[in-house]
């Protein structure tokens, strides 16, 4: 069984990590997790985002959820918010598309135009 002791060790490791970089969140990823989003596969999308972030140890990315936004036919919907102003909304997202968005947009800073529904820059 995983113990809380392991978490305390993990905490030390994370603290070491944090010393090396400033860990304020720079990027926010928001997944639409309303009933229609869930029915269309938003949980798998969320899982892939979390796995990619964990794998790459991206401590400056915050992942969160929101409810229905009235974009039911475009679900699953994912917002990528960079800093205070830039907001990109991606639609009809799948786990494979997530991998591309993480690689190209989150890591390299280049939005994946073909999946974007709206962008406010």
């Amino acid at each position: 069984m995983k113990t809380l002791e392991e978490l305390r060790k993990l905490r030390e490791k994370a603290k070491e990590d944090m010393k090396m970089r400033s860990s304020n969140y720079k990027i926010k990823i928001v997944v639409g997790m309303g009933t229609s989003g869930i029915a269309m596969g938003a949980r798998e999308v969320m899982k892939t985002i979390l796995e990619e972030i964990s794998k790459r140890n991206l401590t400056d990315v915050l992942v969160t959820q929101t409810g229905e936004k009235g974009l039911a036919s475009l679900e699953p919907v994912v917002d990528v918010i960079i800093g205070e102003k830039e907001k990109f909304t991606y639609g009809n997202i799948t786990p494979d598309k997530v991998k591309r968005i993480i690689e190209e947009h989150i890591i390299k800073g280049k939005p994946v135009e073909e999946y974007i529904i709206t962008a406010n820059e």
Binding site: L7, T35, I38, G70
Partner: protein
């Protein structure tokens, strides 16, 4: 919804939006009584009697800002449970919280699979770091096993400097839930 874990996720989202700070989830697989019971209890804003009755009606939603005036989450889950020789109970008190209990006949041929519970729980925990979750899985047969996880304990062990959303915590949660799900035989049905 293809499975029960997705319905659970949908209900947890309702609880989160009701301004809860503690959500208790209990899943009981009772082979002796041939029942599968799912309980989700929150301490959020709750509903008055009228909203409570309406919540089971698909053409009702409290979400004023959207065009689509339907709310299918609760009615679908209710229908699924009742169709499987089970029942669906929703209790709520204004400013106290809401509890949903869905009961299925475990062996019913139309019962949906449980689905991936680990994904549902991890999703909710990481997306709502300010809400505490108490998750209890129980298996009852000739032998009885159980699994319990409290995010409050995890947050205490992590201390103030590491948030539960930290990427390193994800693997810990995943392994923890996978072990618990295996121990309570909830992975394959």
């Amino acid at each position: 919804m293809q499975d029960i874990s997705l319905h659970i996720l949908d209900l947890i989202e309702n609880s989160c939006q009701a301004e809860s700070d503690l959500i208790k989830i209990e899943i009981i697989m009772d082979k002796n009584e041939d029942k599968l019971i799912i309980k989700i209890a929150d301490n959020g804003i709750g509903m008055d009697q009228e909203t409570l009755e309406n919540s089971q009606n698909p053409f009702f939603t409290t979400k004023k800002s959207r065009k689509k005036k339907v709310g299918l989450g609760i009615p679908l889950f209710k229908q699924n449970a009742e169709h499987c020789n089970g029942k669906f109970i929703i209790k709520s008190k204004k400013n106290k919280g809401t509890t949903v209990i869905a009961e299925f006949q475990l062996s019913h041929i139309d019962r949906m699979p449980l689905g991936n519970l680990a994904d549902t729980f991890i999703n909710s925990i990481i997306a709502h770091p300010n809400i505490d979750f108490e998750i209890h899985l129980r298996y009852k047969s000739k032998e009885t096993t159980e699994f319990y996880l409290s995010t409050k304990e995890i947050k205490e062990a992590l201390g103030d400097d590491i948030p539960i959303t930290h990427p390193l915590v994800y693997e810990y949660l995943k392994e923890n839930f996978e072990e618990g799900i295996k121990k309570t035989y909830m992975e394959e049905l």
